[in-house]
């Protein structure tokens, strides 16, 4: 295995129209572009992070039609017409989302690189009602790696939000 023998499949380009954080966006991309790269490179929404580009770290988590996905494994062209929310879109009118606020207060972030993905996952978890026990929080947050090791503080932040929502 000294060099790749194959050429990539043919590259085509096209327009995707999607709603991002409530605003309709029209983006011209090629068929290799991921949703993550569309957000970061084409729309300059760099809050969503790339930690692996392989679906294994969760840093790129966004919501599509209200469900969390890892945007590095999503090809942008397949998301035509969909409704995407990123970390830039969760705070209403300059007010932090309660989950963001809880992450800051519980120090659920250190370097902060995994944080946007963690928060997007945490918001989903709470909306799905899957944060009713600490075990559930830990289990369902395990797709989001944090190398700084903030896990106990992340659990504390989500626990507090769940308690306030009356989910537990």
């Amino acid at each position: 295995m000294v060099r790749a023998a194959t050429k990539l499949g043919s590259v085509t380009e096209g327009t995707v129209i999607l709603t991002v954080n409530g605003v309709q966006r029209e983006v011209f991309v090629d068929n290799q572009t991921t949703l993550l790269d569309l957000l970061r490179d084409h729309l300059d929404l760099t809050g969503t992070k790339k930690g692996c580009d392989q679906g294994a770290c969760g840093a790129c988590t966004v919501h599509v039609d209200g469900k969390r996905i890892v945007s590095c494994l999503a090809l942008a062209r397949q998301y035509d017409g969909r409704d995407v929310t990123t970390i830039e879109g969760v705070a209403a009118e300059g007010e932090l989302h309660p989950v963001q606020e809880a992450f800051v207060r519980h120090d659920g972030l250190q370097c902060g690189f995994c944080t946007p993905g963690q928060i997007m996952s945490a918001i989903s978890l709470l909306e799905e009602g899957r944060a009713s026990t600490d075990e559930d929080i830990r289990e369902f947050m395990s797709g989001n790696l944090c190398r700084c090791g903030t896990y106990p503080n992340i659990v504390a932040a989500i626990r507090e939000c769940a308690d306030r929502d009356g989910d537990r």
Binding site: V2, G112, F113, P116
Partner: protein, 734 residues
């Protein structure tokens, strides 16, 4: 003359100042930087572990859509050599010649208009390799060995005689797998030249070092190189060198005359940056029947790259761990065809602690002495080599408070004696000593006419909380509120500061800020009018509070900063603070104390499946004076999580035929996930350090030390099986 710490703000658990930026995705990391007109570079790395490049044909790649250049050793200009730093020599320069020394060595840089185009074109570069057999085994007789490369060995007393005379002897060998730092932030460089001036956004923990390296490599004036890193997506030691990809990005930008951006892929994070060396340690101890350690012979071998250096010795801290009269340490590095090992959180100390603290656990059973008691018996009341008193040391308290809070006495010391259904329960503990380090540091404090200040230093915040603690300390020293202080770091144009590394930044920067605050107060006193009650006073005679200065012994005699600056129409006043604690330590007549700690852990093991889980983990830490109780705790829990990884998961696997890293993804290289980590308790004990001017100690690394030993000792307690090899995997427990 010092500025007084008021303890008004210092130590308070303030939220991180950059917390909101990070929680909203607004904090700019190097990978978020884009410069108009930038081209994108990707690396092509060697798929072989050793050999030679016979030929490179880049014609097809050059003709591919969007490609602007393919750079290899054949068409790149000669580069200068980066200087030695306080942390050893630079990595081998990229594109030096046609030799391949490890899997994942940079072979070509492909630059294109878009990243996808560069990635596609990289697959078209045709490299013809002459493959030779890589040396990958530390026992391979062909492997070159460096003995005591850094002069860090200790030979004190007569170890062999003391071993021969000891009532009980211990002889054990420990192995630790190579670990890869793997910060979540992919290391990125964005380089832009303007003539001989270079602006570079780079994932680094040490902007000043990158500046010096790049200036030397490209033969340009240091002052014209600006390194920017306001935020870093973690480093854990990865950002303490100027790695080849950084040089190659700057090289591409220089050759093309346009900005170039390069982001490593996750697999390239394994091959392009450092990692914790693979290691083997033999530890021999001689102990009296009373448990007193009489002799220690600690012999460590670590992996090293074929032609690079790694300023590290596993045994560096062993001679000062306990009150052992006779100590010999041996440091050996074995050259392999692997990417260069470098620093990973608590390098050396984390590995050595595993051996020493496991050995003490074994001895506790042999001697019938409780493990906590055995540590107390051997506690170094003074520095064991110099005999000097410690500048602070609350290790005894760490051990006793920890035992108390953990409920250590509930432990039935008999192995396999505690269970919960089909789960074996194990209690384990470890003592933790660390190394003291501080490098020279500068910081300026500028006050404006409204009494607000800006603190400047070329330091970094790698998740450690530098922004927050620097603001807190400054506000405390100057009697300001947190809102009055802005911290500017992450830029090599700022006053020179050392790396975030060696747990040395907080100590050095805090001392520099304190010195700067004192000089600012002095300058303010100099600026008061003749009728001011502050006229002619010294810094020690005044107190900074409520946005002004007043006499220490008269609360009503003072002036606000506004008044003082306004009188002269000064729109700002700047003072520069410095610290050089390593130099000061030479005359201190005390042993400069690092952080100390004790760790207590409860684990469970499913008897049928061999499944190991950490149930609770308590860290008791002597961290001196805390700058911020919240971020200090986060440093300790973060280290503990990495310690769990070291104990249970992390292993960089080299294919023994090719040198390929077989698990260079997050799918295959396991790091702890949320479900692997219980709530982690942290208790701080001790007093402000007497030597550190602010009383502060470094906490960035000590959190990782001792976790692996405590877990391994708990596994022994649960199962009766001694784990001398990390990570402890299920096959060892079945």
């Amino acid at each position: 003359m010092t500025a007084t710490i008021n303890d008004r703000l210092l130590g308070q658990p303030f939220d991180r100042l950059d917390g909101v930026l990070k929680a909203t995705g607004a904090a700019p990391y190097p990978s978020d930087v884009s410069i108009p007109g930038q081209a994108h570079a990707v690396l092509l790395q060697s798929p072989i572990g050793a050999g030679r490049i016979r030929a490179i044909d880049s014609t097809a790649a050059e003709a591919a859509p969007g490609v602007v250049a393919v750079i290899t050793h054949l068409n790149s200009p000669a580069l200068g050599e980066a200087p030695m730093t306080g942390l050893g020599g630079p990595p081998r320069n990229p594109f030096t010649d046609d030799r391949v020394l490890h899997y994942g060595q940079n072979v070509a840089v492909v630059v294109a208009e878009r990243r996808e185009q560069a990635m596609a074109a990289a697959l078209l570069v045709d490299v013809d390799y002459e493959v030779s057999a890589p040396i990958l085994d530390m026992d391979d007789p062909r492997a070159a060995v460096e003995n005591n490369a850094w002069g860090l060995e200790t030979h004190d007393g007569d170890v062999e005689a003391a071993l021969a005379g000891a009532q009980v002897t211990y002889d054990g060998t420990f192995r630790i797998a190579p670990e890869t730092n793997n910060p979540i932030g992919l290391f990125t460089t964005v380089a832009e030249w303007d003539g001989d001036r270079l602006t570079i956004h780079d994932s680094t923990q040490w902007p000043m070092m990158v500046r010096a390296s790049l200036a030397a490599v490209f033969g340009v004036p240091e002052a014209g190189v600006r390194v920017l890193v306001p935020y870093l997506g973690g480093g854990f030691g990865n950002g303490l060198r100027t790695w080849p990809h950084t040089i190659l990005t700057a090289l591409a930008a220089r050759m093309l005359g346009r900005p170039v951006k390069l982001t490593l892929t996750r697999p390239q994070m394994f091959t392009s940056l450092g990692h914790r060396a693979q290691s083997r340690q033999r530890l021999r101890l001689g102990v009296g029947g009373d448990g007193r350690m009489l002799a220690m012979d600690h012999d460590a071998t670590a992996s090293l790259a074929a032609e690079e250096t790694n300023f590290s010795a596993i045994v560096i801290g062993s001679p000062e761990a306990y009150a052992t009269p006779n100590v010999a340490t041996h440091d050996r590095q074995v050259r392999l065809n692997i990417p260069n090992p470098s620093f990973m959180r608590a390098p050396g100390h984390a590995e050595a602690n595993f051996a020493i603290e496991s050995a003490l656990d074994e001895l506790s059973y042999q001697l019938g002495i409780d493990p906590v008691e055995l540590r107390l018996i051997n506690h170094a009341d003074v520095h064991p080599r110099s005999g000097l008193p410690w500048s602070s040391n609350a290790l005894r308290e760490c051990l006793t408070v920890g035992a108390e809070q953990f409920g250590w006495n509930d432990r039935n010391p008999e192995p396999q004696s505690m269970r919960d259904g089909n789960k074996l329960i194990g209690y384990g503990m470890a003592g933790v000593t660390f190394g003291w380090y501080a490098a020279p540091c500068t910081a300026t404090i500028t006050m404006d006419s409204a009494g607000s200040v800006i603190v400047r230093a070329a330091a970094t915040d790698i998740g450690t909380g530098t922004y927050t603690v620097a603001a807190q300390l400054t506000a405390d020293l100057l009697g300001l509120s947190m809102d009055d202080v802005t911290v500017k770091i992450g830029d090599s144009d700022l006053p020179p500061a050392p790396q975030s590394g060696g747990s040395g930044l907080a100590v050095a920067l805090a001392a520099a800020v304190q010195s700067g605050a004192a000089k600012l107060i002095e300058a303010l006193i100099d600026a008061v009018g003749d009728s001011s009650p502050l006229r002619g006073k010294t810094v020690d005679e005044v107190v900074a509070e409520n946005g002004g200065l007043r006499l220490r012994d008269d609360a009503d005699a003072g002036e606000t900063f506004r008044e003082i600056l306004g009188r002269h129409g000064l729109d700002h006043l700047t003072a520069e603070g410095t610290s050089d604690l390593a130099a000061a330590a030479k005359n201190a007549k005390m042993a400069t104390a690092p952080a100390f700690a004790a760790r207590f852990v409860e684990i469970t093991i499913d008897e049928d499946l061999g499944l190991l889980r950490v149930k609770r983990l308590l860290s008791v830490v002597d961290g001196g004076r805390l700058l911020n109780a919240k971020t200090a705790r986060s440093q300790i829990i973060g280290g503990a999580v990495m310690g769990i990884g070291m104990a249970m998961f992390e292993d960089t696997i080299y294919d023994q035929d090719t040198g390929r890293i077989a698990n260079a993804t997050f799918g295959d290289y396991l790091v702890p996930v949320n479900a692997d980590v219980p709530d982690l308790d942290v208790v701080f004990v001790g007093e402000p350090d007497r030597f550190s001017p602010t009383g502060v100690k470094g906490l960035g690394e000590v959190g990782v030390v001792g976790v692996a030993a405590a877990i391994a000792n708990a596994v022994y307690h649960a199962t009766g099986r001694r784990m001398r090899s990390l990570p402890i995997t299920i096959d060892q427990l079945m």
